[in-house]
Symmetry: C2
């Protein structure tokens, strides 16, 4: 087991990464309260709720099982969690335990942030996406019919337990989607890690335990470092959204039929192409990025979206300021910045022009 620390002053917390951590109650029992409510979904509950109950059952007051999927990441789902908390007369010393993927983590964290104006929560992410991304940074929230994650809060967990063995039960498509965020972290901060990924993608696709531990830990370290410098996303942290302005539009336009990671994968390729069009990186670098995304079995080509829809979806993205679109661009593999001055013609070429 590896343990990292996300350094956020009084909001600091540990991330434990390794196999079979679900059966190690000592990692979380000291953080639990007099009442503790587990939140999970219909996919994860049959797989791991019993294991968690075996480990910390004495401490669990209640369990909420939500319907699985991004389409259910709504304010109604959060209210369902809160209904359960009020019915169990949960006080401010209640701890919520999120057992599941990013959707469950986001909803549970948001419920924890607004119930009684804030209670603690612990994350036990069971998808690769959640282990490398959603469990670091404290972003919580839900979708709105007009856009993804439009409602939410910053609320840090007290602890994250990433049991890599839970990834075995993941649908292969979901697992690959998580690899998109792994590639993203390398792209925005660590050229050496990008090289490593080019050499170890097969091992990762086979869920080799050592490769997995390394990749998850490196992603959490990169993200934790960026978040520690900018907890409330005032500037620097925006680079973590590499590919995400495009990805949000793709997810919205496909009504979430594309998984988040699939949309991010294509978003990374689009961001690379936009960086090239803006004169920042050369054509070979774009090809290298596209090749790694393809090697991970992820889509490199956006679905058909009208120019009008691209604009509309991207405009409600949280990064837009004063109606102006902003994109994270690459200066090189391992180096990214937030740009507010992307040319309309350049963007048009990337979205609708002939592809590289």
């Amino acid at each position: 087991m590896r343990t990292l620390k996300v350094d956020l002053g009084e909001h600091s917390y540990p991330i434990h990464i390794g196999a079979e951590l679900l059966t190690r109650p000592e990692l979380i029992t000291s953080l639990l309260g007099p009442t503790n409510v587990v939140v999970t979904d219909t996919r994860v509950a049959p797989l791991y709720l019993t294991a968690l109950q075996t480990a910390i059952g004495d401490h669990i007051t209640d369990a909420v099982v939500l319907p699985e999927g991004e389409a259910n990441k709504t304010i109604d789902g959060v209210m369902h969690i809160i209904d359960t908390l009020t019915l169990s007369a949960c006080g401010r010393d209640t701890v919520l335990v999120a057992l599941g993927g990013g959707v469950i983590g986001d909803m549970t964290g948001f419920a924890a942030s607004i119930y009684l104006r804030g209670v603690d929560f612990i994350q036990i992410p069971t998808t690769l996406l959640a282990q490398v991304d959603a469990s670091v940074g404290g972003k919580t929230g839900v979708n709105h019919e007009h856009g993804k994650n439009l409602i939410g809060a910053f609320h840090q967990p007290r602890c994250v337990v990433a049991d890599t063995l839970t990834l075995r039960s993941l649908d292969p498509r979901q697992y690959r989607a998580g690899l998109a965020e792994v590639i993203k972290h390398a792209l925005l901060a660590d050229a050496g890690f990008f090289d490593w990924l080019e050499n170890n993608m097969t091992a990762l696709l086979e869920q080799d335990s050592a490769a997995l531990d390394h990749a998850i830990a490196r992603c959490c370290e990169i993200k934790a470092e960026v978040v520690a410098k900018d907890e409330r996303e005032q500037g620097l942290r925006a680079v973590l959204n590499l590919g995400h302005t495009f990805a949000h539009a793709i997810e919205c336009d496909t009504a979430f039929r594309w998984l988040h990671g699939e949309a991010v994968a294509t978003g990374l390729v689009l961001a690379a192409r936009l960086s090239h069009v803006q004169g920042l990186i050369d054509r070979d670098t774009v090809r290298r990025i596209r090749a790694l995304v393809e090697a991970a079995g992820l889509p490199v080509q956006a679905p058909e979206i009208s120019a009008e829809n691209w604009r509309a979806w991207m405009r409600v993205d949280k990064k837009s300021a004063a109606g102006k679109l902003r994109f994270v661009l690459l200066d090189a593999i391992g180096q990214a910045h937030l740009a507010g001055d992307v040319s309309a013609a350049g963007l048009d070429e990337v979205l609708h022009g002939a592809h590289l």
Copy 2:
């Protein structure tokens, strides 16, 4: 005009208090963004929305008019505000302007705290209750069918503009309800202010301008001082809830037919009696408190509530820890503390015994 500063580091903000401030756009224009949405209700809109539009109309993107009243302080109302923000493609630099009483301030502040994980808001409180209480402290939120303010966040406004002339249009019952919070502030922190209130209650009931400015400013100072020491309500701040454990139960049991301030007024008398039963203050002090509440035209006697209901409503109060009831008690007029050790018999005597 008086201006106080609520000192909360990077969350510090000014409170301007005086007559006819609504017509002084310079107090807020520098804080506005490229898009600004006013939130108000069906009672206040016909009275003051035009005046505000005359003052800062060029800056206003949209106005949301919600149905008035505590019963409408729901998550659905907040979602209605957020729907408007998404339809106007409001970005992170949007500023919400709350024009109304505590309900509008709480809902607007909560919407601002969760929209895009946090945008700015400005408060223009138009009730006495909101001017002396809701506009200091950063507590925002909505009610849940199982209890008051069970859902919410801490989110500080950028500025508060308390125009005392807007109180003239207030229903006399609402105005008196605001006086309950004025009395509360004196009781918990300032014996001299309590004396002043005993001598100036008539002037306050007549809305004498000088008396009003003094009372509002003193309350804001007291609350700001307590909040500055404990922004996230870890301990000290709990004294601001003097009378509120009882008040929340009264409001819930009467389905909000009692106004918040009326419930607080009775809550203050109950808290005084509980303090007496616990041996902290003498009978004459209780009588003095009861007399001032009565002089303000406020109820001193709780409605008929069953023992079971008292317990149930008080148990979901946010101050309860590990299922244990906690009350703010008085050591003297001007001095209060949070007690976790109230005897069941003492509480029973206060709620159901013969009255003083």
